[in-house]
């Protein structure tokens, strides 16, 4: 018998009051959705833990070997609301069975972590009918592991790993844990419309809002032939990466070419970026309302580029009524890159197809626009029609 159960620990969810049940059932549903490709699984909760195991009496090939079981484990820790998770061995019996399973578990464990040598045992005894106390179990199993593995040494202060024994209705042994992404279960905080560009920032912004329980939809403004179709493919790839955390997502691709051309021809060069963002936000807001989103999400970070100065943000903010969440506003680029790497988006984000439409960016954009600049830039534009055209030319992709 190999490792046959995953134990996942909940974090912030357990601090909730009367509506804790809602959060927990959402979390279980999200886990079910995330693990839908891993065969039939029984996902249930006991105290502040969630247990994931094959449905009784059904074969689940993914739990048959360590490698595929670890794949499930890695998927579990990507679900917001999970603080950490461990692959464990569940069995019935007394101290003899615990000994035997502890040794078998360690054999597998040491294959994956050959450089782990020092350990200590921690035991929990939920089943008070069990004839030994927790410290007695720890002593017994610790000694037994030392007898069986020459490479192991006990270190109660700074061990390489902790070996856990739990005695409940069943017995469990496990060691080590993979850290999760914490946060709140997606679906407990409404839905937001993410402006996804293909760069580094916006996928991170989506990830961060999803970590607060927000469901996502995304909108991307495509300007073929000024941006290539590969750039669009890249945005689709990024949406897929974000959706690993946020769950199923719709990506709306707005055909932006003509709008951008009109803007280029009839607006002030140095105001192009701000004007463009004002139009984008209006299209995004309408799209958000049509799709039941209560906010817009952008990857803006204060001062990063010309359109992200305080003045520019003021003037782009004012064209919409929905709140705009900018989770990266106070982060520097390096901090954003770090999160991007953590969620596995960085390598895709830095592919070179982004923004080949640099032709639309002025050499010296206005970094501190005022009201007069805005009025002048838009006096020859039919903004309402642009927004309408944008909404009429949308391709929706289910991610």
């Amino acid at each position: 018998m190999s490792n046959n159960v995953i134990l996942a620990r909940m974090g912030e969810v357990t601090l909730k009051g009367l509506n804790r049940g809602n959060f927990e059932s959402k979390l279980k549903n999200n886990l079910k959705y995330r693990l839908k490709n891993f065969g039939k699984l029984n996902i249930y909760q006991s105290q502040s833990r969630i247990w994931i195991e094959p449905v009784e009496g059904e074969e689940n090939p993914y739990f048959k070997n360590e490698e595929t079981a670890t794949e499930i484990l890695n998927a579990v820790v990507q679900v917001f609301g999970i603080v950490s998770a461990s692959l464990a061995r569940k069995f019935e019996g007394g101290i003899d069975e615990i000994r035997q399973n502890a040794v078998e578990y360690m054999k597998e464990y040491l294959k994956i972590y050959p450089d782990h040598h020092t350990f200590k045992v921690e035991s929990k005894r939920g089943n008070k009918h069990f004839p030994m106390t927790s410290p007695e179990i720890s002593n017994e199993i610790g000694g037994y592991l030392l007898e069986n593995f020459d490479c192991l040494k006990v270190d109660v202060n700074k061990p390489d790993f902790i070996f856990n024994v739990e005695v409940r209705d069943y017995c469990y042994v496990y060691a080590g844990k993979i850290m999760g992404h914490r946060g709140l279960p997606v679906g407990t905080a409404g839905k937001g419309m993410l402006l996804l560009s293909g760069g580094i920032d916006s996928p991170v912004a989506g990830y961060m809002m999803a970590s607060r329980g927000m469901m996502l939809e995304a909108v991307y403004f495509h300007s073929f032939p000024y941006t290539s179709d590969r750039a669009k493919d890249k945005v689709v790839d990024l949406a897929k990466i974000v959706s690993r955390f946020s769950g199923r997502m719709k990506l709306h691709v707005v055909n932006f070419t003509q709008i951008q051309l009109d803007m280029y021809k009839n607006s002030r060069q140095d105001m192009l970026t701000v004007t463009m963002r004002r139009v984008m936000l209006q299209i995004a807001e309408k799209l958000a309302l049509q799709n039941g989103c209560g906010c817009l999400i952008t990857g803006e970070s204060l001062g990063q580029v010309a359109s992200q100065t305080l003045e520019a943000i003021q003037f782009t903010n004012e064209v919409v009524d929905l709140p705009i969440f900018r989770p990266l506003i106070g982060l520097d680029k390096e901090a954003t890159c770090e999160i991007s790497r953590k969620i596995g988006a960085f390598e895709t984000s830095i592919l070179p197809y982004e923004d080949c439409c640099t032709v639309f960016v002025a050499k010296h954009p206005k970094t501190h626009p005022n009201r007069d600049d805005i009025i002048e830039a838009e006096q020859n534009l039919d903004i309402a029609k642009m927004v309408e055209d944008g909404l009429n030319g949308i391709e929706t992709i289910i991610i």
């Binding site: 051309l261 021809k265 639309f360």
Partner: protein, 379 residues
């Protein structure tokens, strides 16, 4: 579809496809040419025949020809292999900055290993400075590495002059020439030229990808790059591929028929496009005397990739060399070395033709350029 990207690759000829599919189903041609039984022997004979056919196109002997997986492998084998084997010949290599990456990468590595690499200046016509060559060749010059026809501009190498200079300065200096863009388009007589090493690629003359050629002049010794069972006189181990060698031979043979007619047709297309394009805010970056199969053009107001995607809308396929991204604009290193203005280089697009392109296609191309200017030009 209008395919003006033949320097990238060409469409395999119908005859080639037919031959390959027949060969793959032929019960007598799937043996290992190295096997001693009848099946192997018949494969070996067909294989040698293919080699002979190719060799005769270049006026060389079958033994001087090596099949490789691509021209990049040929370049690596030729340059590395020659210098490593002939260390006493000298430690200096002379080349230019406008070579293909397959050559430049090898030279960069050799330079790291202590070889002395001299890059000749290149003029606006894409030709290396011959006076500089003459003054640079000395007793330590082991190898000259040049490209016969530049893949980005079509600039033709003054090969005869270079050989003369070598002959007068140091006869021990070997010459490696990359013929990838000229094979099948110009007649190449390696015997008469008297160079030592050369590379070719089948998919540039309507053969298949995965088939390169390396010429090693009789008597020239090089270290092989791929070791193993000692096939091809030990120069390139690995089981010989019959369908690749035979299809390459066929493609090359068919390219030689009416080779002069073809260059005439392509010249007409090229001249027409040159004359029409200059009327339309375009600057021709290819030299006047370039091989007509390649035409490098810079379109005012369109970055390279934008123009590529505009043309793509009409199923017209061309190539960009400069890669553009929001942060750094990289321009073609070939155009940079030729001293082409940065702005022009940013907007450079390469049209490259084959003998199957037509004047009608060229006319449609011009019509579409007009349409693109109307729809997408930025002031």
């Amino acid at each position: 579809m209008i395919y003006f990207d033949n320097s990238a690759t060409t469409k395999p000829l119908d005859e080639v496809v037919k031959l390959v599919s027949e060969d793959l189903q032929n019960d007598e041609l799937w043996g290992n040419p190295g096997s001693l039984h009848e099946l192997g022997t018949s494969a070996y004979k067909a294989y040698i025949k293919a080699k002979e056919d190719i060799a005769s196109c270049f006026s060389i002997r079958e033994q001087e020809l090596v099949f490789t997986s691509c021209a990049t492998e040929s370049a690596n084998t030729a340059i590395n292999g020659f210098l490593k084997r002939n260390r006493r010949n000298g430690r200096t290599i002379i080349s230019t900055k406008t070579e293909h990456r397959a050559t430049l990468s090898v030279l960069e590595k050799l330079s790291d290993e202590g070889f002395n690499v001299i890059y000749l200046n290149v003029g606006p016509d894409g030709k290396p400075d011959l006076e500089q060559l003459e003054s640079s060749i000395d007793g330590d010059t082991s190898l000259l590495c040049f490209t016969h026809v530049n893949n980005e501009t079509g600039a033709i190498l003054p090969l005869k002059e270079i050989i003369d200079i070598r002959n007068s300065k140091n006869r021990n200096t070997a010459i490696y020439i990359d013929f990838v863009q000229s094979a099948g388009k110009l007649k190449i007589d390696l015997r008469e030229l008297g160079i030592e090493l050369a590379s070719f690629s089948a998919h540039k003359f309507h053969g298949l990808k995965g088939s390169g050629l390396l010429y090693i002049k009789n008597g020239v010794r090089i270290d092989p790059f791929i070791l193993g069972g000692g096939q091809q006189n030990g120069m390139r181990s690995g089981t010989e591929s019959l369908y690749l060698s035979r299809s390459t031979a066929l493609a090359l043979k068919l390219s030689q028929t009416d080779i002069d007619e073809h260059i005439k047709t392509v010249s007409e297309i090229n001249s027409y496009l040159r004359s029409e394009l200059v009327k339309r805010k375009a600057t021709i970056l290819s030299p006047e005397d370039a091989l007509p199969y390649v035409l490098n053009v810079s379109f005012e107001g369109f970055e390279s990739e934008t123009m590529l995607h505009c043309l793509e809308r009409y199923n017209i396929y061309v190539s960009t060399i400069s890669a553009c991204s929001s942060k750094t604009k990289k321009i073609s290193y070939v155009l940079e070395a030729m001293g082409v203005d940065r702005k022009l280089a940013t907007n450079a697009v390469r049209l490259s033709f084959s003998r199957f392109n037509t004047m009608d296609e060229a006319k449609t191309f011009i019509e579409k350029i007009d349409e693109i200017y109307q729809l997408f030009a930025l002031r």
